[in-house]
Amino acid sequence: MHAITLRSPQALAPVRRGFLRQNLPYFLIAPSVIMLLALIAYPLLFALKSSFYFWNLQVGPQPLAFVGFDNYVQALNAFDFRAALTNTLILSILGAAIEFSLGLAIALVLLKSLPGMNVVRALLILPTTIAPIVVGFLFRYLYDPGGGLVTWVLRSLSLPLPAEGILGSPSTALAAILFVDIWQWTPFFAIVLYASLLAVPDEIIEAARLDRASAWTILMRIKLPLIRRTAIIIVMLRFMQIFNTFDTVLVLTRGGPGTSTRTLGYSLYEQGLVNFNVGLVSAQTWIAVLIVNIIVALYVFFAFRNEEW
């Protein structure tokens, strides 16, 4: 026979309070986790499922068959998708590297107490506030072979330009899109790196100068190591952003001439929102997700392997 002990509601109260106190952090964070799962994990998992089906909205509104890895094979065999992958990697790696280098140079200039620096700082942020599609239209005019400013400047410098225009030649079109990105986002690096450099203690710099360290040595041995974490994170962020380049490509070249400026973002747009091939675009999305995550994971591993967090 079991003995049954009955507790009064009052006796249960301390237990409940203890349970609440112990699990309060989980209760507080739960809404965020649920939102995160609903808005990120669920669509990604659903896209993963869709990638194994033949599902084209032009043919029918429903998924028609399980096709295994066919969509992945089709995506990787398509020469335009492979070109898009290559172009995207070129843009992302070069873009992030050049924007960081130029941004750092501008940030170092901003540190100097030169006249008019306040105005320069205010103007610097302007390009990043413009929507990429507007920037695309702006540069469509600037690159115009019949009198665009960029074309005119390059011609004035006696640089050889293709007859088809900067955007019309496979040899210059991708560089032109890269230049647009650099124009728009270098100031972002400059502002963030400038803020980080301001936090570098003056005493350390002064001490180095007293030890007759050169400006280069101060930069490489003191300033850069002290802003390293910020630099690593913003380079990573920009890499991921450039990886999704779409708006400027749509406005400037629609991926052409040929496949010379096709990016993954543009390919996803075309397969998903023009051809409505949900299965194929889901596979392409997952290929892109995997690639970007592998690159970022490797980058983070090597960049932070000696760091303590």
Partner: protein, 488 residues
Amino acid sequence: MTFDIVNMSRRNMLKSASVAALLASSAGALVAPRRASAQDAKTVRVLSVEDPFFFSMKAMIPEFEKETGIKVELESLSYDALQTRLVSAFVAKTSDADVIAVDQMWLGQYLDNGWIISLNDYIAKDSDINLADFIPEVLYSSNMWRGQIATLPVAAYAQGVMYRKDIFDSFGIAAPPTKASEDWTWTKYIETLKSLEGKFFGGKPLFPTVICGSQPSPITHMFTQLSASHGANWFKSFPGAPWDFSPQITGPAWAKSVDVYRQLYKLSPPEAINYVWFDAGTRFAKGDIGMFYWWTPYFYLVKNSGYMTGKKSDVMDKYATAALPKAKGVAQTISLGGWSLGVPSSSDRQDNGYAFIKWATSKATQKKMAQWPDLNFQFSDFARKSLYEDADVKAIYPYLDVQYDMMKQGNGKITRPPVPGYTAVESVLGLTLNQLLTGSEDPKTALERTNSLFESILKGNLMIPYQKESYADTLDGAKALIGKLGKA
């Protein structure tokens, strides 16, 4: 090979909407459809592309509201955004429109999927729509699918030639003919252009012509006029039954068309490689192009210095129109396209939707749209025969005889077949053509590769072998349907 059709539950619908949202966030281009709010029955929501007809139609809407007491909520979108919005909304069953603008190539997809309704019953019961006034070739090309009239044309486009009278006179070049003839061939067209090569006019260098080079749709729209003129077909058997979508783009007509198109590009401004529809069209308005062919809306659009700017162009009083050249020994086929209006099956105000369509496509409204003076008179895309003979309208648009002749030689079902899956193959064709303009690849090799890609896509999309019922889609059948519905 058989497939299990998965029944689409509400949950799956929501899932598909989530996928669409995911894809959109990747591409950053989806304009989310607005849910229909509780609107009274005396309202009609119209979703349209912003082609020239939109502006004059919008100006007439107060008259519709006054006549019917129905309030119009009109919204416009760009070409790409419109189809994205419509398909996403149809799949998620969240369409908020009672009337939608439908491009010619989308018709088969929209009707086969049940996204828009057939207007047969509405038309049969309507004693004053005067169906017989519509040009049969237009209704056949843009509005009919499987014996149903699913839309009515609000702006019908053909393709024709525009040239500079003053330049031709100045160099003693014979004007191209206004009527199609065996002598007016693409070879003759190229010869005429070459006589302008290297010339200066008014102190400025001339380009003999201009083409559209941007992929995928713009270049395909211009190129397929050439290929249709040369007798090229996309598929083994379509629109005649039995439907067989085995691609046929390796034939000599395709190779010849590519060759002619490349010649035209060499005679164009080199930057035309990136030109979309209105870049090519409005380039002529800048004054340094001798002659080009394009959609008939440019017969009036070139009066403006830019696309719908309202600012008169330099060529406004210096250009004329002409018949489209043909290939020797091949019966001419003109590319017909344009915009039509349809009623989504999800609309709960379909009567209002039909009332709006009937009004917008009526002779009276179309004439008023043509007479709307703003922006230098920007509408002459008539689908009704009577308007091509209307003296008031002809006084504003003197080229209507040329345009009407083009319309009567039209067949949009051959030039750009409105079959489900069209945009997927168009993407491949557009990319190939764009590559061929600047590359040195042999057209035959490129077309063979493209044919193979077509086949792969069409097999993947269950179009080869075709698994649904075929339909003998002929112009004679269309005329019979027009007669039957018109008399009902």
